[in-house]
Symmetry: C2
Subunit: 114 residues, 2 copies
């Protein structure tokens, strides 16, 4: 893990919702997906992961059910709700704006910048 978590902070929910947009999945697998998508450069800590799912379920963005695997460890599957999809869109827009603002703020080489 090379990236400071504070930089990703605030995006955890968005990342999880993004993972669920294309279908139900379970926490452990989603985190593996994050790991893979970033070529191993980022993944959520387990404590962060499960508290995020709890938070998202409490706010009605996702709902969960136990998988019916006959073998292997039990899995709690999550499904994104309509509210979750709306929240996702909102979060994406916020990220888009935040990205521009940060870009503008962290690289300022004009003479008059306060």
């Amino acid at each position: 893990m090379s990236i400071t978590s504070d930089l990703i902070r605030g995006h955890t929910d968005t990342i999880i919702l993004a993972s669920l947009i294309n279908g139900d999945s379970y926490a452990y697998r989603i985190n593996r997906g994050i790991y893979d998508a970033t070529s191993g450069r980022y993944e959520l800590k387990e404590a962060t992961l499960y508290t995020a799912f709890k938070r998202l379920e409490e706010s009605g963005c996702i709902c969960s059910y136990w998988g019916d695997e006959e073998t292997g460890a039990r899995r709690r599957y999550y499904s994104i709700t309509n509210r979750g999809r709306e929240t996702y869109k909102k979060l994406i827009n916020e990220w888009s704006e935040a990205k521009e603002l940060i870009e503008r703020l962290v690289i300022r080489d004009t003479a008059d910048n306060g």
Copy 2:
């Protein structure tokens, strides 16, 4: 203020250091600069602002001195140190990487994403 602070969280120090790269300034003016640079869409809360300056000074990234204004409110000026400049470069690189990773993670529309 339309942007959730959590999205900017972790960038506060970078933003402040960026402001000081081009010359000494004081907290209130720097925050005004942030406000202007974002067309009023973002600014730091005062508590956040002064805590950040304290943190940066304690870590040796900036140092401070009182201005010699004969009139008006007293001003504490800040100057970026060599360590501060190095830290800034490091933070910029981290932001660059984080930006790519987040982009990759929040927009995932492939079939297999965990």
